[in-house]
């Protein structure tokens, strides 16, 4: 067991973990931040997407020690208290989720996409979602949600 520390959702956190601990396991099991989901563990489904230093990554394909000293943002760090983030709100109002399993990863990917390109088009969204799988929605409403969320974020600034 070794000590690892990083900043998660603006809080400095640390824990004693084994070298083989995945970042997603550290988030879920050590920090009890269970919003980040584990779908496949083989970096295909994107349910575990979080931001590391502002970039979207799959937290099942990283060891926690690789994130040492970085700034990590998970779905828990997105809302402002009880007030949903505009992107989360867009998923809610557009019925952008059904079972909800893929949603944390979808929202984190959406936020990374909007950060990179606030004016993104439907094509940009569809290409940008290449690394996130949804088995319920058929993606239509997810795409709609992200475009709507991007619009809401643009009108904020």
């Amino acid at each position: 067991m070794h000590s690892v520390s990083m900043t998660v959702n603006n809080m400095v956190v640390s824990g004693d973990i084994e070298g083989r601990t995945l970042l997603v396991e550290f988030l879920r099991e050590t920090l009890r931040l269970t919003g980040t989901h584990v779908g496949c563990d083989t970096s295909q489904c994107g349910a575990c997407t979080v931001h590391v230093n502002g970039l979207s990554v799959k937290s099942c394909a990283m060891f926690a020690f690789q994130a040492e000293g970085t700034e990590v943002t998970t779905i828990e760090g997105v809302a402002d208290g009880d007030k949903l983030h505009p992107m989360q709100e867009a998923f809610r109002t557009n019925h952008g989720l059904q079972c909800g399993f893929c949603t944390p990863g979808m929202v984190m990917t959406a936020l990374a996409l909007v950060n990179e390109n606030p004016e993104l088009t439907e094509t940009d969204v569809r290409i940008g979602l290449e690394g996130n799988l949804c088995r319920c929605t058929g993606y239509q409403n997810i795409v709609k949600s992200i475009l709507d969320g991007a619009k809401a974020l643009r009108s904020q600034t």
Binding site: D41, G46, L55, A61, M62, E130
Partner: protein, 290 residues
């Protein structure tokens, strides 16, 4: 825990990496891990030591000496796609890299990792082969260079010893105004390509081909350089040139597997090669914007 237990080390210099890999058995070098991590999670790979390269300074630089371009092994795929230097001097590298995996995996995956993993359908070995790239390797015994042509020993096995570390890749960019094309076919975006084709073309003023490079991926255990096709490209300037080139590819040895039969792969070779060559020709015919 998905992975088996191992010792995790994160050295901060190349020297200490070389010492660790020369004195320990069964060390797995972790670059970006976007291929290695799924294999560790599935316990296809059971290392005794995982050596993380992320703390070593200077391994993610992209440098152009005026003659050759050097890219550090720890350069993330995203950094390749965003590199103005590469977009200007080697757009083939950028185009192919943007097709690797998904956005999230490109944010973390590295070029050194992809080259050493040497998946038969991976994009980077194909591009590196098309560019006649050379890999720089270090060990406690010294330094050496290895042509990408000599990298694959057999299926997913590079000609790199357990005590060796790949530090960078080097290649000479083609002249300004060259044409390039990279196409691949996969059943879903981000999946491993069933077949990929990379083409580089340089035209003379008379519009005949003076330099050509054509490489296929997903066909054999490593990238397949199509020498016969390149000869045809150099010697003809007829309108049905691309058809002739594709005819010459019929002799290439092609394997079949659960992903695609030999017959289907052979069909895809023709389609991907045509697309890559047509695009390369179109781009080579456009005026150079400096």
């Amino acid at each position: 825990m998905k992975p088996s237990a191992f010792k995790y080390v994160k050295p901060d210099s190349i020297r200490s990496v070389l010492e660790i890999i020369s004195t320990n058995e069964n060390v797995k070098i972790l670059a970006g891990g976007q291929s290695l991590m799924p294999m560790i999670n599935m316990r296809f790979v059971l290392p005794d030591v995982v050596l993380d390269l992320s703390q070593i300074p200077g391994m993610n630089e992209i440098k152009f000496s005026g003659e050759s371009i050097k890219i550090g092994a720890m350069t993330r795929q995203r950094e390749i796609i965003e590199s103005k230097l590469l977009i200007k001097n080697c757009p083939l590298f950028v185009e192919a890299t943007s097709l690797i995996g998904h956005r999230q995996t490109r944010n973390w995956g590295t070029i050194g990792g992809s080259l050493c993993h040497l998946d038969p359908s991976a994009e980077l070995p194909v591009v590196a082969r098309a560019l006649d790239a050379v890999i720089h390797i270090e060990s406690i015994r010294g330094k050496r260079k290895l042509a990408v042509a000599d990298l694959p020993l057999f299926y997913m096995t590079p000609a790199i010893e357990p005590d060796e570390l790949v530090t960078e890749i080097e290649f000479t960019p083609w002249s300004a105004g060259h044409g390039w094309g990279f196409f691949e076919f996969s059943r879903r975006v981000g999946d491993f390509a069933i077949v990929s084709a990379a083409a580089l073309i340089e035209l003379e003023r008379s519009k005949t081909v003076c330099r050509a490079s054509l490489v296929l991926g997903g066909v054999g255990s490593g990238p397949v350089r199509c020498k016969e096709a390149e000869e045809i490209l150099l010697n003809y300037s007829e309108p049905d040139l691309i058809e002739k080139v594709c005819d010459s590819l019929r002799n290439i040895e092609v394997g079949g597997d659960s992903q695609a039969s030999t017959k289907y792969r052979r069909h895809l070779i023709g389609v991907m090669t045509k697309r890559a060559l047509r695009t390369a020709f179109e781009r080579a015919q456009q005026p150079v914007i400096s």
